[in-house]
């Protein structure tokens, strides 16, 4: 994908061109998924060497190349990248669950569990979270966007404030509300 392509697509998407947005999404998805997979394979745990933010930023840099997107374009990019990351993560989770169900054997060696990487006993069901997030989107798209940026794209609150162009105080409140909403939803649906 060339730089000008991305810039053009972003602009078009921003102006409401659905086709351009889908195109961008597809390209970002392929790229981010490849990056994510490589990263997972490298360290097992992304937190070690490369965090999600880096991942997304890397994707951004690769997509946008050296071109400087204007603020609007940048914001749009991150919004999109966050949505993409959400899809990437949820797809991974879905596939992992499928694999687990089908798997008969696992590497059976005296293996230390990393206390910080809950694997099988993962406390959070990403698929359920994804559904809850869809419900939040219905009630408040703005809060859902904060979650995508923060949780799926791994952006810091500062960065999100820039992307969404809101004050830090408002953002903090939104993040709080969104988390409360999602947790309540997850606790509800057993």
């Amino acid at each position: 994908m060339s730089i000008s392509d991305v810039t053009t697509l972003l602009r078009a998407a921003h102006l409401g061109d659905r086709g351009a947005e889908e195109e961008l999404f597809a390209r970002l998805y392929a790229d981010l998924k490849r990056l994510a997979r490589a990263q997972l394979a490298r360290g097992g745990r992304p937190g070690d060497t490369l965090n999600t933010t880096v991942l997304v930023n890397e994707a951004y840099l690769r997509l946008a190349g050296g071109a400087r997107l204007d603020a609007l374009g940048r914001a749009h990019f991150f919004n999109l990248a966050a949505r993409v990351m959400r899809n990437v993560v949820v797809d991974f989770a879905r596939r992992r669950d499928a694999d687990k169900r089908g798997a008969a054997l696992r590497i059976s060696w005296p293996e230390g569990h990393d206390p910080e990487a809950p694997s099988e006993g993962s406390e959070l069901d990403l698929l359920a979270l994804d559904n809850a997030l869809a419900r939040l989107q219905g009630e408040s798209p703005r809060l859902a966007r904060v979650v995508e940026l923060r949780f799926f794209a791994g952006l810091s609150l500062d960065e999100i404030a820039g992307v969404l162009d809101v004050g830090e105080r408002t953002l903090k409140r939104d993040w709080r509300k969104a988390r409360a909403f999602l947790l309540a939803e997850l606790q509800n649906d057993h």
């Binding site: 997972l40 745990r45 992992r96 060696w109 230390g112 206390p115 694997s119 006993g121 069901d125």
Partner: protein
């Protein structure tokens, strides 16, 4: 106002309010929510829910989603085999040569390694901390795992061979390399039969047990960690999150805490999921899951892998099906045959291991292995035996409702009892049966609708009738469960005062158990205690005594003299001992029971207090009043302390103490206690409870003594209506209502009441009951007052003869009937017989009271005087004068205002007239008249006579 809020979106409704509420301090927030509740309840509820979740969000979404995916495992990520090892093959680590990477995890790598031992090449697995991961915490964890492994030496556990540090300082250790497959896989691939599978599991138990002996809990037992080698040897792996039960110092304690969050949902024990303490029983649970899986091919529960929170709430509700039921459902291939083989004992073994409560599982992995062995060799398994744990207090306080909930309605009451019972039963029967008992009871309770009940007792009766039918129909094929439920139902019914159905249920429970179990089984003794206690509560004391004597002997044999069960049996037996000559024995039994209860349960325990109260009753019955009061007061204080002032048990003891105080002529203290007890019982037990009747009856007696006869009648009538027509106590009520009617000179009513009382005594206690003859004597008295002399004479003569036969010639109970007989005989003109009878009364009274200076003796003197004057034989008038003078002497010294004094004065005045002593006659009649007038209600005739004599003779 948040400018970003789009008012058309549904979120707008709560978002702004949430911001506002979230920043309020708690009390303000609660107030605001309450206001909102009035305006928009749905929105308020939603906000409350959100705010509650808000309080739990500490770690929620704190880390980016990518991290939660964990390692690349299952993500299509390159496997360990293809991953780049941090150390290439051929690298030397210590004396080990790395051959390649076997696997990797978050913090470490495992290499296939070998060492030249001279005579052979040892192959092993070498575990190493990844480069860059050697933070202090991780190194600590690593070292701890090595430490734990070094403790464990068992052929069933992969052995630690070596350990050390690499050249760049990373710690490593080397483990025996296990060439095997997960146990479930092994069984499946080799097509092992049930027996072989169980024997394999026994080996796993042995390995785990050895770890437990070294105070190591594995915590993550699952097929993947239990490998079986080609030659069928079991090897346990992965003590990576194992816990040291002792010796964990503070530094490693936090690691253990972190580990506590790592679990495999399918195999995790409830306490792991709920964050409760981990013990060796945690591994026993996992072994239970494995047993279930090896037997049925399925997991015992479907735990959805969602959040830890939803797992936890699921675990609280989950129940485990019997393995045989699962197999039966499969209904294909070998399953039906296997189901029959597994049903019963092996079901019970699995369910015992899988008990929700760690304390109720097998006490060790070895015990589980032992029962598997018993199953394999067709010996009786241990899970069937009683655990020896103390049951919840259950028998004592029979008929004295042990509820702690007040006014919560029948359902709450029953549910509370049911749960308590379930716990009691769960402690000693199989989890499965306990579960059946619980769910059955709960389904019974669910049927009850408190709004439609006309009163707790009525509704409960209907409820249990239905329950009894269902036990018959639904559980016909499960006699053991049937017995369990019948015993539970009998217990609840007895506690609700539904004694007839309780008796039936208890009899059936005992019969079933005697049929099912071998002689000397604890449950037989237990059922017999239950039956005896119900028999006693029904007033069938003779039978209760026999039942409980036998039950005590059985219990002593099964449990030993210092056991709580024996203390309870003693307690029940003591309560059934009702004959005066058995009182000393009852006191002994109670003191023995108390000693045990004090030692085992402590002084403050309710059961101890209850035994104390029963000792008080027994002492009171034995007329050891001082001791009795002391004991009662102690019991009351303890119960009040333990239960608060408004508990039904407290009310029972208030009633006891009040009755005693009434008897000791301290009516003011007594009345206060009665009133408190009645208020509590009405409020907590409702208007139809037999305990309320007991208190009302005792209170009625006090009121009769205080001559508050209308109030007494009300209390006694209410008690009577609660007792119904078929209880012994109903006869008491009728008799005392009759006595009250006598005091009110409603003789005809009294005769009717006494007749009913006598019939009720006969019906409930048999024709030879002493109380029955007292009622007959009372009837004779009523007939005497009604002028029906012939009937009265007949009744009183028979009553006196029977009472004398039953209680001996000097019994206190003879005094009044004899006196009334004397009076009747006088009226009948049989004056010589009358005089002989009344002289006997006088001698009896002298003996009973220890003196002749007594009001009662004066009344006998008066009757004797009348009999003598009626006969008019030689010397009779002189003897009469002497008797009257003695009686007058008694009253004169006391400056009495009693009615009897008035009557004696009247009689003496009349005699003085006959003697021609007009001055004396006038003086005595003038004294008599105001005394009689003061008791005009019951002495109208005498007042008229005194006035006539004063007017005429004076």
């Amino acid at each position: 106002m948040n400018p970003d809020l789009d008012p058309t979106l549904p979120g707008a409704r709560w978002e702004e309010l949430f911001d506002e509420l979230a920043e309020m301090p708690q009390p303000v927030r609660a107030r605001r929510l309450a206001e909102l509740e009035r305006e928009d309840p749905a929105l308020a509820a939603r906000l409350a829910r959100l705010l509650e979740a808000d309080g739990d969000t500490a770690d929620f979404l704190a880390r980016p989603a990518m991290e939660l995916l964990g390692s690349g495992e299952g993500l299509g990520v390159e496997n360990a085999a293809g991953a780049e090892p941090s150390l290439p093959a051929g690298t030397r680590v210590g004396s080990w040569l790395l051959l390649g990477l076997l696997g990797r995890g978050g913090m470490g790598e495992v290499y296939f390694a070998e060492r030249d031992e001279g005579t052979f090449i040892q192959r092993a697995a070498l575990k190493l901390i990844k480069r860059g991961m050697d933070s202090q915490a991780i190194v600590q964890r690593f070292v701890r795992e090595r430490q734990i492994l070094s403790r464990l030496e068992h052929p069933g556990i992969a052995r630690l061979l070596d350990g050390g540090s690499t050249e760049d300082g990373r710690p490593f250790f080397v483990l025996e390399r296990v060439d095997g497959v997960p146990i479930t896989e092994y069984c499946k691939v080799r097509g092992l039969g049930l027996e072989d599978r169980l024997r394999l599991l026994q080996s796993v138990c042995a390995a785990i047990d050895s770890a437990h002996h070294r105070l190591v809990v594995h915590r993550d037992l699952k097929p993947a960690n239990i490998l079986v080698t080609a030659d069928g040897t079991v090897k346990l792996l992965d003590f990576g999150i194992a816990k040291l039960l002792a010796g964990d110092d503070e530094e490693t304690a936090h690691l253990t805490q972190l580990d506590a969050r790592v679990l495999t949902p399918a195999y995790a024990a409830p306490e792991q999921i709920l964050g409760e303490p981990i013990t060796t029983a945690t591994d026993v649970y996992a072994l239970g899951v494995l047993l279930f899986e090896l037997v049925t091919g399925a997991l015992p529960h479907a735990r959805e892998r969602r959040s830890l929170g939803s797992l936890a709430s699921g675990v609280v509700r989950e129940t485990v099906e019997r393995p045989s039921a699962v197999l039966r459902r499969i209904a294909a291939g070998d399953a039906p045959r296997l189901a029959r083989r597994v049903a019963g004992d092996l079901d019970l073994v699995a369910l015992t291991a899988l008990h929700r409560d760690p304390a109720r599982r097998y006490p060790s992995a070895a015990a589980l292995a032992d029962d598997l062995g018993r199953f394999l060799t067709s010996r009786p398994i241990r899970a069937r035996a009683d655990s020896g744990r103390y049951r919840l207090r259950k028998f004592v306080g029979r008929n004295r409702l042990p509820v702690t909930v007040a006014a919560l309605g029948l359902v709450a009451l029953l549910a509370g009892l049911g749960v308590a019972l379930w716990q009691a039963h769960a402690a000693r029967v199989s989890a499965q049966r306990a579960e059946r008992v619980k769910s059955f009871l709960l389904s019974v309770f669910r049927q009850s609708d408190p709004d439609q009940s006309k009163g707790a007792a009525i509704n409960a009766r209907e409820l249990f009738e239905r329950a009894a039918q269902r036990i018959d129909v639904e559980l016909a094929a499960e006699p053991a469960t049937q017995a369990e439920l019948l015993a539970a139902v009998a217990d609840i019914e007895a506690n609700l005062g539904l004694l007839d159905p309780a008796l039936k249920a208890a009899e059936r429970a005992l019969a079933l158990r005697e049929k099912l179990l071998s002689k000397g089984d604890f449950q037989i003794a237990e059922s017999r205690v239950l039956l005896g206690s119900i028999q006693r509560a029904r007033g069938d004391v003779d039978r209760a005594q026999k039942t409980l004597t036998r039950a005590l002997a059985e219990m002593l044999a099964v449990r030993g003299p210092g056991s709580l069960e024996v203390a309870q049996a003693r307690h029940e037996l003591a309560n059934a001992l009702h004959r005066p000559e058995d009182r000393a024995r009852a006191v002994d039994l109670l003191r023995q029971a108390l000693a045990t209860l004090r030692r085992r349960l402590g002084d403050g325990d309710i059961e101890t207090a209850q035994a104390l109260a029963d000792l008080g009753i027994t002492l009171e019955q034995g007329e050891r009043y001082v001791e009795a009061e002391q004991v009662d007061r102690e019991a009351l204080a303890r119960l009040e302390h333990a239960l608060g002032p408004h508990h039904p048990r407290v009310a029972v003891v208030q009633n006891l103490l009040a009755s005693l105080l009434d008897r000791l002529s301290r009516p003011a203290e007594a009345r206060k206690l009665f009133e408190q007890a009645i208020a509590t019982q009405r409020a907590v037990l409702g208007p139809r409870h037999v305990d309320l009747a007991h208190t009302l009856f005792s209170y009625g007696l006090l009121l009769i003594g205080r001559q508050e006869l209308k109030a007494a009648d009300a209390a006694l009538s209410e008690a009577l209506s609660i007792y119904g027509p078929n209880r012994y106590e109903a006869a008491h009520c009728l008799r005392y209502l009759g006595l009250s009617a006598m005091d009110q000179e409603r003789f005809q009513d009294a005769a009717g009441l006494f007749t009913r009382a006598a019939a009720t005594y006969e019906r409930t206690m048999g024709a030879n009951d002493a109380e029955r003859w007292r009622a007959v004597a009372n009837l004779g008295w009523a007939h005497l007052k009604l002028g029906q002399t012939a009937v009265a004479r007949q009744e009183l003569t028979a009553a006196v003869a029977q009472i004398e036969r039953l209680a001996g010639p000097e019994a206190y109970e003879l005094r009044l009937p004899l006196k009334e007989l004397g009076e009747t005989l006088t009226n009948a003109g049989a004056t010589t017989e009358a005089i002989a009878t009344l002289e006997r009364v006088r001698r009896l009274e002298e003996k009973l009271f220890g003196t002749l200076q007594h009001g009662e003796v004066a009344s006998s003197d008066l009757l004797l005087t009348r009999a003598r004057l009626a006969r008019g034989a030689a010397g009779d008038r002189q003897a009469a004068r002497r008797s009257l003078d003695e009686a007058l002497g008694i009253f004169a010294r006391k400056a009495s205002t009693e009615l009897l004094y008035g009557k004696v004065l009247l009689e003496s005045g009349k005699l003085a007239l006959a003697e021609g002593n007009h001055a004396r006659a006038r003086r005595e009649l003038a004294l008599a008249e105001p005394l009689l007038l003061a008791h005009a209600a019951t002495a109208r005739k005498e007042v008229r006579e005194a006035r006539r004599l004063l007017a005429g003779g004076g």
